[in-house]
């Protein structure tokens, strides 16, 4: 039932509980995989999880960055993890997710209870400096775990060519050999093909959901979107996630049709960037006091979302291969389709030039009708903070007010809540938004 406390009616999301359950089950399945003779593996959120899916239906992943964020939610636990990692000799300026994750292993404490379940193999992608090295250290900390990482650093999407795709696909073929050898299982191409199609479907649908936030008022606010987009970072290749996103899309479309807003008094729209400081998501609620809503960010839209530029210049969801009439009949084709699909990932482009990201951010600012931008200069992630200073300059040049706040997505010692709130107060003042709502 819609609530009308302010200018717009609001309503809690119906899909909330299901999202929670999917996430909880995911970590349970990982921890208990061996009990039913299944396998479990670890890798990054960008890893090609569709590929190990070819080993069977009882193969459960855990992805590193979301796990690191889960640790960060619990400030006390996170601090113990970070200190354990520092005690082991690792520097404080390393990726905060990685330090939380390693700390969890060193303490042998799983963020969801019990000891840290050791993965059977490590399956990772590599684009930021830390990716493969993260798991190199994990393997060493756990006394040696078979490890295979795929280098995807082949350049921006507009320069993709056959040579680059062959490099990645070749590694994937080698990876499948590695998986068969390591697990002793026979690889099933039909499962791979299914998983590839799910990947395309879930990432395309997530983008469709984000597109709906072009509406005024926005049906979703960024804080809520974090609880939804996370599922794609856990397992974009799973049927459950792809199906769930279609449910979410239907619900959000319905909200748009009925004029349901994420916040009761939206009058100022902003976007953020890089991961938020996970232990301090209340800053998003604070914005509501000014009638301000964050409608998302390139991070929330493009970390897993699949996008393309339509002929009219609008940024829209990428049409899946299935929608484009592409058929996938064998292993090699599946791997090629997957590679090409992922190489268009928005959050992979700035690794080659921050100016590509600036263009995308300016496009979002225009098409999602923004009044300003809030950039999290995130000390915890070099990959996503890469070039952020240039993004700021470009946004300012394009006429958008920009606010900057320093922090750390996973190390709460490096985030100053009071100072940040004060920064927000000053920024809202420049946007002429008074703090007048509850």
């Amino acid at each position: 039932m819609a609530d009308k406390k302010g200018k717009y009616p609001t309503e809690p999301l119906k899909c909330w509980d299901k999202a929670k359950k999917i996430r909880e089950d995911y970590y349970k399945d990982y921890a208990s995989a061996h009990e039913k003779g299944g396998l479990r593996w670890a890798g990054g959120a960008w890893t090609f999880d569709a590929i190990p899916a070819g080993l069977g239906d009882d193969v459960h992943p855990i992805t590193s960055e979301p796990y690191g964020a889960s640790c960060a939610f619990n400030k006390e636990f996170s601090l113990k993890c970070l200190e354990a990692t520092e005690k082991a000799g690792y520097a404080r300026d390393l990726c905060a997710y990685m330090r939380n994750y390693w700390g969890s292993i060193l303490l042998n404490q799983f963020a969801f209870g019990g000891p840290f379940p050791k993965p059977d193999f490590l399956w990772q992608d590599h684009i930021c400096c830390s990716h493969a090295k993260w798991y190199q250290v994990v393997s060493e900390l756990e006394g040696g775990i078979p490890h295979f990482s795929i280098d995807v650093s082949v350049g921006p999407e507009h320069e993709i060519n056959a040579n680059k795709i062959d490099y990645i696909v070749g590694q994937m073929h080698d990876g499948i050999e590695f998986l068969e050898k390591t697990t002793g299982r026979k690889y099933q191409d039909n499962l791979l093909i299914k998983a590839v199609k799910n990947t395309c479907r879930s990432t395309s649908t997530w983008a469709k959901i984000c597109e709906l936030n072009k509406t005024v008022p926005a049906p979703l606010d960024e804080k809520s979107m974090y609880s939804l987009y996370v599922l794609g970072t856990l397992q974009k290749s799973s049927q459950e996630v792809a199906d769930f996103y279609e449910e979410v899309y239907a619900e959000v479309r319905d909200r748009v049709a009925r004029g349901i807003s994420a916040t009761p008094n939206e009058r100022c729209r902003v976007m953020s960037d890089t991961q938020p400081p996970w232990g301090f998501l209340s800053v998003f609620r604070y914005l509501e006091k000014f009638g301000t809503v964050s409608i998302g960010s390139l991070y929330t839209f493009g970390l897993i979302g699949a996008w393309e530029v339509a002929p009219d210049g609008e940024w829209v969801h990428r049409k899946t291969p299935m929608e484009q009439g592409v058929s996938i009949n064998d292993r090699d084709k599946a791997l090629r389709v997957l590679t090409e699909w992922e190489l268009h990932k928005p959050e992979w482009q700035h690794f080659y030039s921050p100016h590509l990201k600036s263009d995308m951010m300016i496009r979002i600012a225009k098409q999602w009708k923004l009044n300003g931008v809030m950039l999290h200069y995130n000390r915890g992630c070099e990959g996503l903070s890469l070039g952020i200073a240039e993004n700021r300059l470009a946004l300012l040049k394009a006429g958008y007010p920009v606010m900057v706040f320093e922090g750390n997505m996973g190390d709460e010692r490096e985030f100053d809540m009071t100072r940040t709130m004060s920064r927000i107060d000053s920024f809202m003042e420049t946007l002429q938004m008074k703090k007048e709502f509850e």
Binding site: Y377, R379, A389, L396, P401, V402, V404, E406, E414, R419, S422, R423, D425, S426, E429, T430
Partner: protein, 260 residues
């Protein structure tokens, strides 16, 4: 109509009384200490005494500064950035860039002719650019804080000092002392290092003339000289630089009270 601005700074509480949004009637300050409420009362009363006024004469009070949310007497508040812009433009109408270096924070902002903020930056984690750093450097050199600037002005030799990290900088000073560099040259190196950090911050937001300096550190002549050199433009120190924030708050109070 009399309005008041209270700047609840990190170190000092400053009060300004303003008549009809135009004429400054009084300025007073008190060390914040552990009893900020008591200190604010003292400063407010001192200002009233100076102006020959009573509390009842004051129509509207606006606070600013780090502790503005808990300021006694204040009916509303304005951020330090907003107050700095308003106050600076009032004192010097050609102001378009304000550099405010206080005890714990350094900030820079660009504004328009009406004192409206266009963009701003505040010194971030990795910057040794504030008054408290000056104080610890004065201690390391065993001189009074007010002597640090004049000492630096006497230097004839520039020694590079990095001061990216305040802790690194302190150990660099210790090294320079042991290397038998003169106090004058070391003092100048300290100023150069701090000015570098501030300049970096100013470049982030960009600057447009006239550039003005406010806050406690503006009273340091060596720092002002170095900033002029770095920015290659004139940098004006506003009259009573540490009161500009409170003045800005008093101006906002006048606006909120309906003074045209």
């Amino acid at each position: 109509m009399i309005t008041a601005g209270i700047d609840m700074g990190a170190k000092n509480i400053k009060v300004v009384l303003l008549e009809d949004g135009k004429k400054i009637r009084a300025r007073a300050q008190e060390l914040g200490g552990t009893d900020t409420r008591g200190a604010t009362e003292k400063a407010f009363n001192a200002a009233l005494f100076q102006a020959g006024l009573k509390m009842a004469d004051v129509s509207h009070v606006t606070s600013t500064g780090a502790g503005r949310a808990n300021a006694p007497y204040a009916q509303d508040n304005v951020t330090e950035v907003g107050a700095a812009a308003r106050g600076a433009v009032f004192v010097h109408p050609a102001t378009r860039t304000v550099i405010d270096i206080g005890a714990e924070e350094g900030k820079t902002l660009r504004c328009d002719a009406a004192g409206k903020v266009i963009d701003f930056a505040v010194n971030e984690k990795c910057a040794a650019g504030a008054g408290s750093f000056m104080e610890s450097m004065a201690r390391a050199l065993e001189v009074k804080l007010e002597q640090l600037g004049p000492l630096a002005m006497k230097s004839t030799n520039s020694i590079p000092m990095n001061a990216q990290c305040a802790v690194f900088a302190e150990s660099e000073v210790v090294t320079l002392v042991h290397q038998k560099h003169s106090k004058e040259d070391i003092a100048r190196a300290v100023h150069d290092a701090i000015a570098d950090r501030i300049t970096s911050m100013v470049r982030k937001v960009g600057f447009e003339n006239d550039v003005v300096l406010i806050g406690g550190v503006a009273k340091n002549p060596a720092f002002v000289e170095t900033m002029k050199r770095n920015l290659e433009t004139d940098v004006l120190v506003l009259e009573e630089p540490e009161y500009v924030g409170a003045l800005g708050a008093a101006l906002v109070a006048a606006e909120n009270a309906g003074v045209k």
